[in-house]
């Protein structure tokens, strides 16, 4: 008989801890989960991580050829390729985050049923994986923008940071909600995938925002411009495309103010999402 454990910890209720703060405390595990997801996804595939270049490249080529060349959008918009791509990398980041976070709890069902972990770890890991996939696109965007004579500026950098913050916070927040509801309604993930198709067209990425202004009544335009996604995409275009574009182009009004409001709104939604998730997660183990 050895080892009478020196410090006697308190009696606590297991499974009580949670919240995104716990994710920060489990950084090491989070890192391993992200690595696992990246490895597992590309294991045994020819290109490996290269696929995260191929998908956006094909996506981009199709839109550029159809909308830019055939529908002649590149006559209205200087450097249409940069315009399109700057919106596309950001929106891909968002839709991919939604897609994978929604599945993150169900996808880890065996683990969640057996071991207690702060369940926020899984949506957080999925968001980070999407962020990793976002990096190659961002690098290509920078190279492309430099090729069109773009010079980085302080205002541009601020726009990038603000847009990224809005997308990441909102993606994680909605991802937490969707992941929780997907446990209870198995077809929730289908709804999200359909929503993602709409999201791509709900932002001024393939078309300029002015076509919306000229087509809809004022209240609808206000609604459109209030979308944090529209603001984030416009901020990205402001950063990477706008400075080099020669033709006169109006950016949506009050872009930075809207950006800050969007970020505040996204943080609010994140707080709400975390609360809903922490209540829902009590029944995860029995529902999965």
């Amino acid at each position: 008989m050895t080892a009478v454990r020196p410090a006697v910890p308190e009696l606590v209720e297991p499974g009580r801890t949670g919240g995104l703060a716990q994710v920060l405390r489990h950084r090491y595990l989070l890192r391993l989960l992200v690595r696992r997801e990246l490895k597992a996804r590309y294991q045994g595939s020819v290109l490996g991580l290269g696929w995260s270049y191929v998908r956006p490249a094909v996506n981009f080529s199709v839109y550029f050829l159809m909308v830019g060349v055939f529908l002649k959008m590149n006559r209205n918009i200087d450097y249409f390729a940069i315009y399109l791509f700057s919106g596309m990398v950001l929106i891909n980041f968002f839709t991919e985050t939604l897609h994978s976070t929604t599945r993150s709890i169900r996808g880890n069902a065996p683990l969640i049923r057996k071991v207690y972990l702060p369940r926020e770890l899984f949506p957080a890991a999925s968001t980070l994986v999407s962020a990793v996939h976002f990096v190659p696109g961002l690098l290509i965007l920078v190279v492309g923008a430099l090729a069109t004579g773009w010079t980085p500026s302080l205002v541009g950098a601020a726009a990038i940071v603000l847009a990224l913050a809005v997308i990441a916070v909102l993606g994680l927040a909605l991802g937490l909600l969707c992941a929780a509801y997907n446990v209870f309604f198995r077809d929730f993930e289908q709804v999200i995938d359909i929503l993602n198709i709409v999201i791509v067209w709900s932002v001024p990425m393939i078309y300029p925002w002015m076509v919306v202004r000229d087509a809809v009544p004022d209240w609808a335009l206000d609604l459109y411009l209030a979308s944090p996604l529209v603001t984030a995409v416009s901020l990205f275009q402001r950063a990477f495309w706008f400075p080099a574009a020669a033709r006169p182009f109006e950016l949506p009004p009050h872009l930075f103010t809207n950006g800050v409001i969007s970020l505040a709104g996204a943080l609010l939604v994140l707080g709400l999402a975390q609360y809903v998730f922490s209540r829902k997660q009590r029944r995860f183990a029995e529902e999965l």
């Binding site: 009696l11 606590v12 499974g15 391993l32 065996p110 972990l117 309604f185 929730f188 183990a285």
Partner: protein
Amino acid sequence: MTPSIVVESATKRFSLRHAHSIREVTIRMLRRQSRYERFNALDGVSLVVEQGTTVGLLGLNGSGKSTLLKLISGVMRPDAGRVRVRGRVAGLIDVGAGLHPELTGRENIFLNAAILGMGEPEITKKFDSIVAFAEIERFLDTQVKFYSAGMFMRLGFSIAVHTEPDVFLIDEVMAVGDPLFRVKCREKLRALRAEGMTMVIVAHDIPLLKELCHRGVLLAQGRVVFDGDIDRAARLLVESRTAPIG
């Protein structure tokens, strides 16, 4: 003695959901059919486990043994009553739940150990010992999906016993694996018991329970029907198999 696990009249209700999709939910709501069917998996169970004791949970299938373990581990929360635990809880609840087939043995050791609550320095320190106990040296850099069932289970068990938790939960794990390794597991558990670890074991293997446990708790239909001497609990279980109690 200090108690390690305190369960106070814990009740766990399961609702068997009939509807799992938006379509089914809508149909059932329109028809005003119930969407749930409730039953008590645990019904006012109280249990105190002192530090350093090994308790065997016995009972027929569906008597609530695994549910009780899940409440203690925190995977599930009681609907009524309270469950409290002192220190780190780790479980051998389904060996290898955290093993990922696409990752190598080495990667899985780090991942699974982190899942069970170890930090990076601790894992690095225990790495060689985990590998040696699991006897997988040659296959360390092979993907786990190519492992035999025995190797898989050895790796899972080895990681779990190296967690050195304050409370160790073991659910039906001794049923698998090759006989030689089973003997090794048994010895390891006996060593952990001697070191003063608190353990709760669920198994159908009565000789094993008699050997390891200080105390037996017999559950029937979600209630504790006997709590005391392990031999007596085992005898009651055998009797209940022929004539149900509860």
